[in-house]
């Protein structure tokens, strides 16, 4: 059960993680995939469907960079819509984790009945 929750959570935040990584610096798929798989144990292959979807949704743009060794490399950068999405999603994420933290913390102190607070 715990695993299922973990997987669902990861699935939900993958897009947000990619947006956050790209906000710091433009990057290419292998780099994004290895960062994410180190941090949250994500299957590296899933980065490609995700990147294509984000491209369809207009959140990221691609450009080619000439490489000294081998063929040119495809880089991803955030589009203006991607920046907006990052702001909106990270606000949602913070809001959500705070709410969960509050509930979990209340559970650990069963003496205090949890009030129905929304924020």
């Amino acid at each position: 059960m715990a695993e299922t929750i973990e997987i669902q959570l990861k699935k939900g935040v993958l897009g947000l993680c990619v947006l956050a990584l790209l906000a710091r610096a433009d990057s290419y798929a292998y780099e994004i995939a290895s960062r994410l798989s180190d941090a949250i144990d994500m299957g590296e292959g899933t980065i490609y469907p995700l990147m294509r979807r984000m491209q369809t949704d207009g959140l990221v743009e691609t450009y080619l960079v000439e490489s000294s060794s081998g063929p040119s490399r495809k880089y991803y950068r955030l589009s203006p819509a991607g920046r907006d999405a990052l702001v909106a999603q990270s606000a949602e994420w913070t809001h959500f984790t705070r709410a969960v933290d509050a509930i979990v913390a209340n559970d650990e102190a069963p003496a205090a009945p949890a009030p129905g607070e929304a924020a």
């Binding site: 997987i7 292998y30 798989s37 144990d41 299957g43 590296e44 081998g70």
Partner: protein, 196 residues
């Protein structure tokens, strides 16, 4: 699994996509293998970390179907998007198919009714004045015109409704598809062995 094996399974899974799209996807994964080997990993390690190529191909096809529907709103793109999404196993086809059949049948019937209404409006407008339409020539012309306008607007509404419906199915499936789940699971086990 070797690099060649992985890529050929991926290619098999991508059959049906436009050549240029499939080639681009395969090139992405080839680059991934090159990068992984340059970073000192074996082909088998990279392939394991990537996950099941058949599953990835299904996911990529669904994405391509959704993208095509995004760009061209026509019946064939709609059918392609819906079937690619069904291929994900996100929606149980046994549950969805009867509903979908009913909905498609209803929409089709309504389109036919709208066309019939339009044609009969035209007939009243053209033939009414000569066939002794109750109320006279002007009433026949106006009634015919009204019927035709009504039919045209009903048709437009139906088209909008159909587009919404397909958008809704694509959106629902993207939200719910459970492909990422198995793609994440083996990785969770594989990484526990790593020195962290």
């Amino acid at each position: 699994m070797t690099r060649t094996e992985f890529l050929s399974r991926l290619r098999q899974g991508l059959v049906g996509l436009p050549m240029s799209v499939a080639a681009e996807i395969v090139a992405d994964y080839e680059t991934h293998f090159n990068d992984g080997i340059a970073a000192g990993r074996s082909e088998a390690e990279v392939a394991t970390a990537l996950g099941d190529p058949a599953r990835l191909a299904r996911e990529l096809r669904a994405e391509a179907g959704a993208q095509r529907w995004h760009q061209e709103k026509n019946p064939s793109a709609a059918a392609a998007a819906v079937f690619a999404v069904l291929g994900l196993g996100a929606i149980d086809i046994l549950i969805l198919l009867p509903i979908l059949m009913g909905v498609i049948g209803t929409l089709f019937g309504m389109f036919i009714a709208v066309i019939a209404l339009f044609v009969s409006g035209g007939a009243i407008m053209v033939a009414g004045p000569f066939a002794g339409f109750p109320g006279g020539v002007a009433a026949a012309l106006l009634a015919g015109l009204g019927l035709m306008a009504g039919a045209a607007s009903a048709g437009a509404l139906l088209a909008i409704l159909t587009i919404w419906l397909v958008n809704g199915i694509v959106w629902f499936a993207r939200l719910h598809y459970r492909l990422l789940k198995p793609a994440l699971e083996p990785q969770a086990n594989a990484v526990t062995g790593d020195p962290a």
